[in-house]
């Protein structure tokens, strides 16, 4: 992959929240690349830092969140070095987002059409109102809503329609990168499928890049080319979706897959990962997954596992070399249960 192809480069980024109890290491040394036209999935459980990471790209983090190290480059430019004016120009025009819950993401007191047009008016000065109207109507048709409903208020839309309206809004300026933050969490399966379908189709049509944030690996499987698995502010595993999901190389990904019920595949018993996510204020030394990992050895408790890259796959585990063997062991429920101390 040539360097020019890289749209967004995240390099050892550290984002800490300042609280009275100390720094919460929400994102702690994350490196990722998003190429032009690429669909990247970011999967992780609640509190792993995936949303923080995405907000950082648009510089939307609250004041108490500080960038403690690393950098993000958009088209080669460091995002933190952009002026206020530049970042405002970049927002939506270059990078737009599909918010987590469209229920709250639309301003309840303005018509949806007005909110979509607002984005155009802000960034494309001098555009005629007729053209704006036309484009808004077009984009509504694209996401499958009757353009007449541009005049509706958000509360007159159903959940799925709101989400579609949010997609329309994200696409209206034809951005290079769309960040979709759990775009289907609150929706029913059928609607979820429709929305994902819509995102896929539109992404292909507009050929922009997409970052899909979710906790649901099946959503990633259906929409993305690459996936990054995040745990406790760090990337555990990264690679092509097919590789990572069919052939996980990190104990955490293995555990995640074990715990995931499947509708069609062979029915095997589910295995949960024991324990709970680590304290991000005073993280223990070594691998952050070690306390929950059935394969942890002495070195895991003391040393941070290095991110090893191999054929475009990155895995951060001390025991990567033995993984083929461990994978078999991981199918055994008792291996995981041995780790159980109390409850979970």
């Amino acid at each position: 992959m040539s360097r020019d192809n890289i749209l967004l480069k995240i390099d050892d980024l550290k984002l800490y929240y300042h609280t009275t109890a100390g720094y919460v290491r929400a994102v702690d040394g994350v490196s990722l690349n998003v190429a032009v036209g690429e669909r990247l999935g970011l999967v992780g459980e609640s509190g792993c830092g995936k949303t923080t990471l995405m907000k950082a790209i648009l510089r939307l983090l609250p004041a108490n969140c500080r960038q403690m190290g690393g950098e993000m480059y958009y088209k080669g430019k460091a995002i933190s070095s952009l002026s206020e004016k530049e970042i405002k120009k970049m927002r939506w025009q270059e990078i737009s987002m599909i918010p987590q819950s469209a229920m709250n993401a639309l301003d309840p007191v303005y018509r949806i059409g007005a909110q979509i047009k607002e984005a155009m008016k802000t960034h494309q000065k001098g555009i005629s109102s007729k053209e704006i109207q036309e484009r808004a109507a077009n984009i509504f048709e694209l996401v499958g809503i009757n353009p007449k409903r541009l005049r509706d208020y958000p509360h007159q839309f159903s959940g799925g329609m709101k989400q579609r309206a949010a997609i329309a809004m994200a696409l209206v300026l034809d951005p290079n990168l769309i960040i979709a933050d759990e775009p289907t969490t609150a929706l029913d399966v059928i609607v979820q499928a429709q929305i994902l379908e819509r995102i896929n189709a539109l992404q292909q049509r507009y050929s922009g890049s997409l970052i899909m944030i979710t906790h649901d690996i099946s959503v990633i499987a259906q929409t993305c080319e690459k996936v990054a698995v995040m745990y406790a502010g760090k990337i555990m595993e990264y690679g092509k979706v097919r590789d990572v999901l069919n052939n996980p190389l990190h104990p955490y990904t293995l555990g995640l897959k074990n715990a995931f019920p499947s509708l069609l595949g062979e029915k095997k018993s589910l295995i949960s990962i024991p324990g709970s996510p680590p304290d991000l204020i005073k993280p223990q030394p070594g691998c952050l997954f070690a306390p929950r990992c059935p394969f942890a050895i002495a070195v895991c408790q003391t040393e941070d596992p290095p991110a090893k890259e191999e054929d475009g796959r990155i895995v951060a585990c001390h025991r990567l070399a033995e993984m083929e063997g461990l994978k078999v062991l991981a199918e055994d429920e008792t291996i995981w249960e041995r780790k159980v101390h109390a409850g979970d």
Partner: protein, 326 residues
């Protein structure tokens, strides 16, 4: 708008019921008073017969239920009976004082809500700064100070010590006005209005200000504000177009409550500043046991409170598309 007129009709009906209950309550209250209006006007030159005569004249010799029937039938005619003190229709006694009170209230509420909305937005924007702390403490202190005391201080400072403004009343004595219009639209009236309106306005400003601030802080946290930011809108656009408009909604709700409270404040302010309004009128009428006037004044004040409530509701529905009136 069909729903709006239907809604207003419904609320007006509700208002009529409320006012009916209110007036019954007040009617009963007055009849339970230990003092009676006639003894108020005792004069050793008057005989017992004269007093009976007065009782009869006031209709107080009749049994309670009959008095109530008369009271209600009067009410239906839009009358409150003849004032004991003034010998004319109670409404005529109140007369201009209704407008005097309404003007004072409207102006002070305007002041309160202007300060409240602008101040609240600024304080929310300046969250965590020293300005915010000073603003909150200042506004709270004024909110917690008795309004009549505030008035006394302003009066002694601006009117007595520095003689910048008149010492009270509504017009400089001895000026005659050709029309009602002229009475309210002149510089002299404005000068008299400043202190009472500011007193009432300042002390009523805290609640909308704090509500505005809180609601502003809440709105700023909302997802849609973040999205607006992500859309690349300028801070000013986000603040005024999205945050302010949404934050205004709870403030409108407060308006109804505040209007009710402001009436109480106006009673005190009118007393301190000798404003010839209904608030002062009610105090005098109660002291003189002039039931019809007190009833009428209370009724009008109640109606005013409810009207402000109604206005707030309609305003709310107007500002928030999610609310449908019914």
């Amino acid at each position: 708008m069909k729903s709006l007129s239907k809604y207003i009709a419904k609320r007006l009906l509700q208002m009529v019921i409320t006012l009916f209950v209110l007036s019954t309550l007040i009617f009963l209250l007055f009849r339970l008073v230990p003092g009676d209006p006639v003894s108020m006007y005792l004069d050793a030159g008057m005989s017992a017969e004269a007093k009976e005569m007065l009782m009869k004249q006031f209709g107080l010799d009749k049994p309670l239920w009959e008095q109530y029937v008369i009271f209600i039938s009067n009410l239906l005619k839009g009358e409150f009976g003849i004032s004991f003190q003034y010998g004319k229709q109670a409404l005529a006694v109140i007369g201009d004082s209704f407008w005097n009170t309404l003007i004072l209230m409207a102006v002070s509420l305007f002041i309160a809500f202007t300060i409240g909305i602008v101040g609240g937005a600024i304080l929310a924007w300046k969250r965590g700064t020293r300005l915010e702390l000073a603003g909150i403490i200042g506004v709270l202190t004024i909110r917690c100070a008795p309004v009549f005391w505030l008035g006394m201080i302003l009066l002694s400072f601006f009117a007595f010590r520095y003689q910048l403004l008149p010492l009270g009343g509504m017009n400089t004595p001895g000026t005659n006005f050709e029309t009602v219009y002229a009475k309210y639209f002149n510089l002299d009236f404005l000068k008299h209005l400043i202190l009472p309106a500011i007193t009432a306005g300042l002390s009523a400003a805290a609640t909308p200000l704090l509500v505005m601030r809180t609601s502003m802080l809440e709105v700023i946290k909302e997802d849609f504000i973040e999205l607006t930011k992500a859309k690349g809108l300028s801070d000013r656009e986000i603040l005024f177009k999205h945050a302010l408009r949404n934050a205004l909604l709870p403030v409108v709700t407060v308006f109804a409550v505040q209007a009710g409270l402001a009436i109480g404040g106006v009673v005190l302010v009118e007393t301190v500043f000798r404003w010839p309004g209904m608030g002062r009128g009610i105090v005098l009428a109660v002291a003189a046991r002039d039931y019809p006037v007190a009833q009428a004044a209370f009724f009008l004040i109640g109606a005013m409170t409810i009207m402000f409530n109604l206005i707030a509701d309609i305003l709310y529905a107007f500002l928030d598309p999610r609310v449908s009136l019914d």
